[in-house]
Every structure is written in C-alpha cells, then in structure tokens.
C-alpha cells in the first residue's frame, strides 16, 4: 500500500496522468464523445427538438439529484425521493382542482397548491433528517420507511385514482417555453446554480462536506452536525417536491402509482457517475448534472439507434459501474 503511494508521489514532474485525468474528467469526455458520435450517426440529432426531448427527460432526475448530492455529501442517502415526488404530485392537483376546498381564483389556488405541495415535501424530508440525526437510524433504513409508506400515502390521498387536469396556470411549469427554453429547464438551471453556490461558497456547504468527511471531527470542531443533516434531508425533500410538480405538469396528469417510481436509483446513479463520493466528504452538483446528462444521452443514443430497451439498460449499467470504477482509480492515487 505505502509503496504505491510513494511511487506516485515520486513522479510529480508528470503533468498529465492519463488514468487520473480520466478519473477526473472521464464523464465529461464520455459526454463529449457521445455528442460527437450522435452528430455523425444519429439522424436529426442536432435539432432543437432532440435537445428539448433530452432536457425534459433529464430535468426531473437532475432536480432530485441536486438534493441527493447534498445528502450523499454528508455521508447519507435518501431512498424516499420517489415517494415524496408522488406525494407532492398527488397533493397539488387535489388543491387546485378544488377536491379539498373550493377554488375561487385559479391563479391563487395554483399558488397555494404549489406552496402546500412543496411544504409537505420539505417536512417529509425533515422527518427523514430527524430519524437520521436525532434517532441515529442509518440513512438507508430511515429513508426506507418513507420509501415504503410514502407511495401509500400518495395513493391514499388520491384513492389510487389518476388525476387528469387542464389547468394552464399550473401546466405552465411543464409545457411553457418563454424564449424557446422550457420553464422546467430554467428551474433546473436556477437550482443547479444555487446549489453549486451553496456547496462551494457558503459556510453551510463547508459544513456538509465536513460532516461527510469525518463526522466526529466535525462535531468536535463545533459544526452543528445534527442541524446540517436535518437541513440536507429537508432540501432533498424540497427538491423531490419540485420534481414531482414538474412531472405532473408535463403529463397534465398525476398517477400516484407511477410518479417518481425508481427515481431514487436514477438520482443516486447520476450523483455517483458525476463524481460525488458515496461515502461523503466530496460533492459536486455540476458533476451530478454532467452525470445525469451522460446517462440520459447514452439511453437516448441507444434507443434512437434502434436498440431495444433491455439492451439500453444493460449498457447504462456498464456505464455506471465503469464510471465509478474509473473515479476510484483517481482517488487511490
């Protein structure tokens, strides 16, 4: 072990170590290669239509993965995001359709619906944080509780029914395109920028990484570890809530059985491929964005070129495993 360390530190003169370079920028390189490949081989790739399809499909994953990045940065994990999406997606239509209380002004009621859905999602995230920080339950298990119960809550709320709606004020989130850019993409970009700023430039960001790096040391250094954990799970819940609203706005319908299904694993995969260490202590939101885009583009490339869904899943799996392996090569050195 110690030999490898000394041998790598013995040649500092080398500017670019290929494996280390790939470990750092491999995902970015892969993304670039994918784009080049598609430009040559996939028909109609360089169109606004394609860009929109890919961005709208990846949007919700990225939004959820932003919160996941912060949670994983503290060394935790959040399996409940898909269920929280379902709850937020079930709550909002109940309100703006007037199922719970009569609607007066549609604009007001949409605003209330969004606020209530996001508040509920944040509170559920806070509940996860409470289990992890105060009850000292391992994050996988703590969030497994809501993973199991959450979807049931969404189904109970809606009685399992599909809620279809035609409410332009709300669907604006999913369908409108001011200046040709979908609103959901704008939301995603704003959230990415905000999260990247928080992680890199604020005390709270430092505290997240310190907690994930070495919790005991962080605690001894006076970092409010418990409060940091509460906050990241609440943020993760909030992000999931936003994603739930985006999904139902795109579909103009809310199905508690389907909204956010499997999202936790998509988000975790994006975070991992993006270079955030799953043990905590290092987190990059931009990396997460690139990770999600890469996974999405791989899928798109394969499906657009006629490969069946099953094959696309297998390649996706290989990409995830390969990317994480590559990153570890950089870390070992």
């Amino acid at each position: 072990m110690s030999e490898t360390v000394s041998s790598s530190s013995a040649k500092p003169a080398r500017f670019v170590d290929p494996l280390d370079f790939l470990a750092r920028y491999g995902t970015l390189v892969a993304l670039a290669l994918l784009i080049v490949f598609n430009l040559f081989f996939t028909r109609n790739f360089a169109t606004l239509q394609t860009l929109n399809v890919n961005l709208t499909q990846v949007c919700t994953i990225v939004i959820v993965a932003i919160g996941m990045t912060m949670v994983i940065g503290t060394g935790g994990i959040d399996l409940s995001v898909g269920s929280i999406m379902a709850i937020s997606g079930a709550l909002a239509p109940l309100i703006f359709l007037g199922t719970i209380f009569p609607v007066g002004n549609m604009g007001v009621s949409v605003a209330v619906a969004i606020a209530v859905a996001l508040l509920a999602a944040t509170l559920l995230g806070l509940f996860n944080g409470w289990l992890v920080a105060k009850m000292r339950i391992q994050p996988i298990i703590a969030t497994l509780v809501l993973f199991i119960a959450g979807r049931g809550i969404a189904q109970v709320l809606t009685n399992g029914n599909l809620q279809v709606f035609r409410v332009p004020e709300f669907q604006w989130i999913g369908l409108a395109r001011p200046f040709g850019i979908p609103v959901q993409v704008m939301i995603m970009v704003v959230m990415i920028v905000l999260a990247a700023w928080v992680l890199q430039r604020t005390v709270f960001g430092r505290q997240i990484l310190a907690t994930g790096g070495n919790e005991k040391a962080a605690d001894l250094a006076g970092i409010p570890v418990d409060r940091v954990k509460l906050a990241v799970y609440a943020i993760s819940g909030f992000c999931a809530g936003v994603a739930g609203l985006v999904v139902i706005a795109i579909n103009s319908a809310s199905d508690a059985n389907l909204v956010g299904l499997g999202m936790e694993l998509d988000a975790i995969a994006a975070v991992a491929v993006g270079g955030t260490l799953l043990v905590g202590g290092k987190a990059t939101v931009i990396g997460t964005l690139i990770g999600a885009l890469t996974i999405q583009l791989v899928r798109y490339t394969l499906l657009a070129n006629g490969l069946p869904e099953g094959a696309a899943l297998m390649v996706q799996a290989a990409i995830i495993a390969g990317a994480v392996w590559l990153q570890q090569q950089g870390r070992v050195r």
């Binding site: 049931g152 189904q155 297998m314 392996w325």
Partner: protein
C-alpha cells in the same frame, strides 16, 4: 458489566421473535381461521420467495455490503426458469438458479476485484439484470411448461407442506449451519466487524465476500424459479422493490447494516413478521371493520417499520452507552 451489554444486544436481536409471537397471538385472538391450515400454508407459500432473497441479503449485509440486484436477479431467474421449464424440471431450476448465480458472479467481481462500492455495483447489476430479463423475455411474460410438472415447485405440496416453503426451510437450515458452525460463517462476521483486521489475520476476505454475493444471486435465482412456478410464467418486470423489502426484513431481524453482527434465524422472523402483517391486513379487509384499501397497507407497513427501527435504535444506543461508560 459485560453481561448487561449482552442483555441489551440480546433484546435488540431477539425482540423480533417476541414481536412475532405477539403478532401471531393477536391474529389468533382477533381472526377466525388465522391459524387455520389454509391460511398458515398460504402465508408460508407466498413468503418463501422473500425468505430466500432475504437469506442471501442477510449474508451480504453481515459482511457490511448490500445487494440491490436481488429483485432483478429473481425476475431474470423467473424468465430463465420459464424458458428452461419446457425441457423439464431440472433445466427449469438450473436456468433460474444459473441466471441468479451469473448476477452474483458479476456482483462479486465488481465488489471484490474492482473494489466498486456494493451499493453502486449492485445498482448497476440491478439495471443490467432487468435489461437482460426484458431481452430474454422479449418484453413480455414467458409462460412455463405445464407438462413437465415444473409448476409443482411453486404450487405443489410435500405431504401437507408447500414445496416452496420446504425449499426455503432447507435453505435456512443450511444458512444457519454455515453461519454458526463453519469458518466461512465466522469470517463473514469478522469481515463485517473489521475488514482490514480480518485481512491481516490472513483470512480470505475477498473470496468470502465473493461467495456471499454468489449465494445472494443464487438464492434470488431460486426465488425466481418459485416465482415462475407460482405464477405460471416468467415475469421480467416482477421483483421491483424486493431488494428493499429484503433489507427491511433483515434489519427488522436485528442484523446491523454496518455488518459484523447478524442472525439467520431472526432474519426469517423478520420476513415472517412483515409477511404476517401483510396477511393480517388482508384479514382486516375481509372482516369489513375498516375498509383498508390496498393503499393503506404500504402506509401501515412503513409505519410498522418505523416503530421497529426506532425501538431498535433506542436499544442499541443504550447498549452503546453501557460499553463506553
């Protein structure tokens, strides 16, 4: 001093057995036919698949790992078994278990050779296995052969016992013997306790870890065989969420997710606890006291898991305080 720690840990571990007994007593008191032959046998028949998956998961978790691929491996196994069943029972079993073992080999290689974190390695194989299942099944369910008697593996009885339950019981006996009476079993616990130390002692940590993933995959494949036989078809999109159910059962059974401590017997108790809870909710529905829609069931299950893990956390933290003081 030491005694007190043991008491806490004992309660933390065997609390699930107490809870199981209480739950069964409650069901017996509240519902007619709850302990009737038909209900008991159908609970055992239905939960044998989960029991097999949870057994493999238990071993993986005891090494400090995790296996998210078990649900997909079972789905892939069910498809392979259904395809194989047309050539006879043995090819059916071999197909299902073989497919599961293949997933296990890949998991083991990713975790022990490439040192990829178990969570990510098995997440990747989860996707790959479900992709393979879809490809193999051509995106639809694959019917089994009814002539070869393959369906007995899921629907048949040995004397009065459901065959799948007998298979699961055998697996648990073997698992228990391996854990408690072999050096491999002790190594599993040692790895979870402290992998580096175990490695330095000269134990083959890599090989043992590899074997736990292999076993987990094989058992998931076997669960897939039973799934195909029970439903009369290989189901490429079944198994969603099984991994988390298995993890919940293992944790309810008192096995620590950080590894190093665990029991095969209490894992079975955990499976039965969650399974019987589900069964009781069906009874509750049938009695018409409160009309519990299917949707309430997952809410109640989640709430139940919550209670169990909070109690466990309380017990453990008290135990820890004893150790430090």
């Amino acid at each position: 001093m030491k005694r007190k720690v043991d008491m806490r840990v004992l309660l933390g571990t065997y609390g699930v057995v107490v809870a199981l007994v209480l739950l069964i007593a409650f069901g017996w008191w509240r519902y007619e036919n709850f302990l009737g032959m038909f209900n008991v046998m159908s609970v055992l028949r239905y939960n044998s698949m989960f029991a097999l998956v949870a057994l493999g998961m238990c071993f993986v978790i005891m090494t400090g790992g995790i296996d998210l691929s078990v649900g997909s491996a079972a789905a892939l196994g069910s498809v392979a078994a259904a395809l194989g069943s047309h050539y006879g029972i043995i090819p059916g079993i071999a197909g299902g278990v073989g497919a599961g073992l293949l997933v296990g080999v890949i998991n083991g290689a990713l975790v022990t050779r490439l040192n990829i974190m178990p969570f990510i390695a098995t997440l990747a194989t989860m996707l790959a296995a479900s992709g393979a299942a879809l490809l193999l099944a051509n995106n639809q369910s694959v019917s089994i052969s009814y002539e070869t008697g393959f369906m007995n593996l899921g629907q048949g009885n040995l004397w009065i016992l459901p065959i799948p339950a007998v298979i699961a019981a055998l697996a648990y006996v073997v698992g228990s013997v391996i854990l408690n009476f072999t050096s491999a079993g002790r190594t599993v616990l040692a790895i979870g306790g402290n992998e580096d130390a175990t490695n330095m002692m000269g134990l083959r940590t890599g090989r043992i870890k590899f074997l736990t993933y292999l076993a987990s995959g094989g058992l998931a494949g076997l669960a897939g065989v039973i799934l195909a036989a029970q439903f009369g078809a290989g189901q490429p999109i079944e198994g969603v969420g099984w991994e988390l159910f298995a993890i919940a059962a293992v944790v309810v059974g008192g096995t620590l997710l950080t590894g190093g401590k665990g029991s095969v017997g209490t894992t079975l108790a955990g499976v039965l606890l969650l399974g019987i809870l589900f069964n009781m909710l069906n009874f509750e529905n049938g009695m018409g006291w409160i009309s519990l829609s299917a949707y309430w069931q997952s809410v109640i299950r989640g709430g139940f898991l919550l209670i169990v893990v909070i109690i466990q956390a309380k017990l453990m933290s008290k135990g820890a305080r004893y150790v430090t003081s």
